[in-house]
């Protein structure tokens, strides 16, 4: 079963972090990624640029509108994702809980629709 771990953080928290704290956080993420790669749960994962770089596109009656920013303003912003393979939701939650973002922000666990259905 495949799940997407959506990583949410308050970007303002990063601005308050020192150089060393930032370094330590990246170390944590790297260690975590390596960890779930080794255990065979990792499928893919990426960090996203800050939400200030986001652009939203809509097509209404054939007319395209492009707007600056995300679909909705939220207190925490999507900052990245992991695509994982897990036996069931409990295993997925246990993997999500170890993600550094679970401590700093939150991790949303979404099951993916299985193929052919």
């Amino acid at each position: 079963m495949e799940y997407l771990l959506l990583i949410y953080n308050n970007e303002a928290d990063f601005d308050k972090m020192s150089q060393t704290e930032m370094g330590a956080m990246y170390q944590d993420f790297m260690a975590y990624t390596k960890d779930i790669q080794k255990s065979g749960h990792h499928r893919a994962g990426k960090q996203l640029q800050p939400v200030a770089t986001a652009t939203t596109v809509r097509l209404k009656d054939g007319k395209r509108t492009v707007t600056d920013g995300p679909f909705a303003e939220t207190r925490e912003q999507l900052g990245g994702f992991y695509w994982i393979e897990a036996k069931d939701l409990d295993e997925a939650l246990a993997i999500a809980e170890r993600c550094p973002s679970a401590r700093m922000g939150s991790v949303e666990v979404r099951p993916m629709v299985p193929p052919h259905s």
């Binding site: 069931d88 409990d90 939650l93 299985p114 193929p115 259905s117």
Partner: protein, 418 residues
């Protein structure tokens, strides 16, 4: 058909439905299909047993019939949905059914833990537990919660869809999560009980079936997980509260407060079961909020007359509850206990502090408690004001009538004096 065998089947349905369902879900891994299949299996039994005789193990017969139905359904779907693996179906059909007591216990626990999984919304956990574990229909559950049937049915469909699509495991929680997950199960049981004990809205003050179901669930859990002090404390709490049920309402459904209750109406059997249950739970180290609340209930039950109540000790137990989890409602209860122990003025001072904090703004029991203490002090006009305030906020009919009666009483006393 033989009427006798129909009755026997009916009692078998009540006793075995949950166990048959639990095992069928484990074998098939499909919540929704298993439920339907178990109903079908009982219908099949109703047709076949009176004719062919009751099988040696009704449980095994029902499980294997239900399992066949699920496999049939999956096979039918498999023609349309490629992801259903045919090999798994064959394996599923052939798997041996473990008839041991231990396996049955585990299946039932798995069922309960799945229904009370923290990934599900709490109201959905409550509804699902009532449906799958207690066997209530969506209509019955809707009636208990004064929710439209369609809303409740929708909630149940949604929660089962999540179980299937997010693949919630039908499993016991891992050992290091057991305590935390059991807390979640206890909360669901307690919510079922409190909803049954005092309906928050609407006309009916005590919803009997829900408190019965909650006590039944509590007993089942104590059976399935023996020697757990917190579970025993929770069951004791429910029994001790429930023991006062008869006395809590008068002939016209009006509320009778603890002080005015006819203690002869308290259920001796429930008290005789609840008090020793709590004592062993406390001896074995129970220290949850349920244990503390049960201790408070036990102190009430122990008092032969209202004036014998050990309010000082009750106030101390509320202190302990507050240390566990600060809550303005518990603070209000504590204020009432302190008032009974040390006099209404002391209680009123505590209520004034609570009022100033504003956490309970809009909660009718705050002005109601204040009114009660002012009444005890003979400050009729102030009491009447507070009762009026409470009346503006109350949502439950019997409580409204109680407050209106009290208001009338203090108004008359006030008139007589002036």
């Amino acid at each position: 058909m033989n009427l006798d065998s129909v009755f026997r089947l009916e009692s078998l349905y009540r006793e075995e439905r949950r166990r048959v369902l639990a095992t069928t879900v484990r074998l098939t891994g499909d919540f929704d299909l298993s439920e339907e299949a178990v109903q079908d299996a009982f219908v099949a039994a109703l047709e076949q047993w009176p004719r062919d005789g009751t099988p040696a193990s009704p449980y095994a017969w029902l499980v294997s019939t239900a399992r066949h139905r699920v496999v049939d359904q999956l096979r039918r779907r498999g023609r349309f949905e490629a992801h259903i693996e045919m090999e798994r179906l064959a394996e599923l059909e052939g798997a041996e059914i473990d008839l041991s007591e231990a396996a049955m216990v585990d299946d039932q626990l798995r069922l309960i833990f799945t229904c009370c999984h923290p990934a599900l919304a709490v109201d959905a956990q409550v509804a699902l537990t009532l449906q799958t574990v207690c066997g209530l229909t969506a209509e019955q559950i809707a009636r208990c919660f004064l929710t439209p049937v369609a809303t409740m049915a929708q909630r149940l469909v949604r929660v089962k869809r999540k179980i299937r699509d997010a693949r919630l495991p039908f499993a016991m929680p891992p050992r290091d999560r057991l305590a935390e997950r059991l807390d979640g199960v206890m909360l669901v049981v307690y919510l079922v009980f409190t909803e049954g004990y005092a309906a928050t809205t609407g006309k009916v003050w005590i919803m009997r079936p829900l408190s019965d179901e909650a006590i039944r669930l509590g007993r089942l859990l104590c059976e399935l997980i023996p020697r757990n002090p917190e579970l025993r404390a929770l069951l004791a709490l429910m029994l001790l509260h429930d023991s006062r049920r008869q006395a809590r309402t008068g002939p016209d459904e009006e509320i009778v407060t603890l002080e005015d209750q006819d203690r002869a109406l308290w259920d001796r059997r429930e008290i005789a079961e609840g008090v020793p249950l709590l004592e062993t739970a406390l001896r074995d180290g129970a220290k949850s909020e349920y244990a503390l609340q049960a201790s408070i209930a036990a102190l009430h039950v122990r008092a032969g007359r209202a004036e014998d109540t050990d309010w000082g000790q009750i106030a101390r137990l509320y202190d302990a509850l507050l240390r566990k989890r600060p809550s303005p409602v518990v603070e209000l209860n504590r204020a009432a206990a302190v008032a009974m122990a040390e006099g209404p003025s002391r209680g009123l001072a505590l209520i004034a502090e609570l009022e100033a904090k504003g956490d309970l703004a809009g909660y009718h029991l705050l002005p109601a408690a204040k009114a009660d203490l002012l009444r005890r002090k003979g400050q009729w006009r102030e009491a009447a004001d507070a009762y009026r305030q409470a009346l503006q906020l109350v949502a439950n009919d019997p409580e409204r009538r109680y407050l209106a009666r009290r208001l009338e009483e203090v108004e008359q006393r006030g008139l007589r004096r002036s």
